[in-house]
């Protein structure tokens, strides 16, 4: 068969329109259920990934179809098989980014800085026992910018930058550590990442997770205040980090 004929045949192939329509319906349905129903965080995470996958699926279907037409190959002889293969693989790909790539990056960049046996790790092990969670690994990253984050994948971990330990004193650093421990206790890391990924969808206007994320931060802060019995150190730590960012932006402009 000549190539032009293949292209024409592919262009009017009804299969890809059917597949695209199905996935657009799935995307709309997941968006609707995120808006309409009260679902626990795990369900929301699943819906976010289903929404994103089904939203970008028509694009990839059309691209694959076009490529098949160019090379004159029969592409969509078994549409159900393609859908069964494509959906889990796309979900797997997006989950791999959150579960493997980000932790691996921070573990690799924190390899050179050893902070085992310091006051920080002792504090963490004591308070994770009080909160009844497994003690997370503490990773220090060689970066002058102050930041702290936590994730819970195969092994939960708290990441601190050396710049953060430079500018905060003992009590302020403890406030930051307690904040991250509260996130680990709430198992918030995956939800926070997924809520951020949701902003890649053009329909994130209809459902944004700002409220839920703010509530999560609020809960983490309230744990810090209930343990330390004051919000002084938490606020001063936040002020210092904000000041650093402001000063850094000012220095960059010069």
């Amino acid at each position: 068969m000549p190539v032009d004929a293949c292209l024409m045949q592919v262009a009017f192939d009804p299969t890809k329109y059917v597949i695209s329509a199905i996935f657009i319906v799935i995307a709309a349905a997941s968006l609707f259920s995120m808006r309409r129903f009260r679902i626990p965080n795990k369900g929301k995470i699943a819906l976010i990934y289903i929404h994103l996958t089904s939203l970008f699926m028509p694009v990839s279907v059309f691209a694959a179809n076009e490529a098949c037409g160019m090379m004159c190959l029969p592409c969509f002889e078994n549409p159900a098989g393609i859908a069964v293969l494509a959906l889990p693989s796309a979900m797997l790909f997006s989950a791999a980014a959150g579960f493997v790539v980000i932790p691996a990056y921070f573990f690799a960049s924190g390899r050179n800085v050893k902070i085992n046996g310091t006051r920080i790790t002792k504090f963490i092990s004591r308070h994770s026992r009080l909160l009844n969670i497994r003690a997370p690994k503490v990773v220090a990253v060689n970066s002058p910018k102050p930041f702290a984050l936590s994730f819970r994948t195969f092994r939960s971990a708290i990441v601190l930058s050396v710049g953060l330990m430079d500018i905060l004193h003992k009590k302020e650093l403890e406030a930051v550590l307690l904040h991250e421990l509260a996130h680990l206790k709430n198992r918030a890391s995956l939800f926070k990442l997924s809520a951020f990924l949701m902003s890649f969808s053009p329909f994130s206007v209809f459902k944004s997770f700002n409220n839920e994320l703010n509530m999560e931060e609020f809960e983490a802060d309230s744990l810090v205040i209930s343990v330390q019995r004051t919000n002084k150190y938490l606020l001063s730590a936040k002020r210092k980090i904000a000041n650093y960012r402001r000063a850094y932006g000012y220095a960059q402009k010069k």
């Binding site: 800085v113 601190l160 500018i167 000041n243």
Partner: protein
Amino acid sequence: MVDISKVRFNRSGYEAVLSPLESTILEALWKKRKTKVRELHSHIRAKKKIALTSIAVGLDRLHQKGIVAREIETGQGGAHYIYYPLKTKQELEKSILENITDKLIYNFGENAVNYFNERFSAGKIRKRKRSI
């Protein structure tokens, strides 16, 4: 030394290419040699009111420019950076002069070289009055 694109001749010496914050920090660092951010802050605070975070930012900028170096030291309170100057004042000013002279030769070509020959061949350095 990082590329110089802007020189403020209303300030003298190395301060012409560094920001006021950076020059203050560098001056203190030359006195203290090896120091942590917090120690440097308590040293500077006696004379001038500068926030700890500003000093951390200034030191990072100086590190990016290759004027200071840093190491990580682990203590009881966690890991900290220790900063120390890579260049003395003379070396720093020499590298700035080198950079500016290279820029002049690149911009003006032969004219610049001829002028330098004409001016410095007699073996004496005339100080001109400021005309601008």
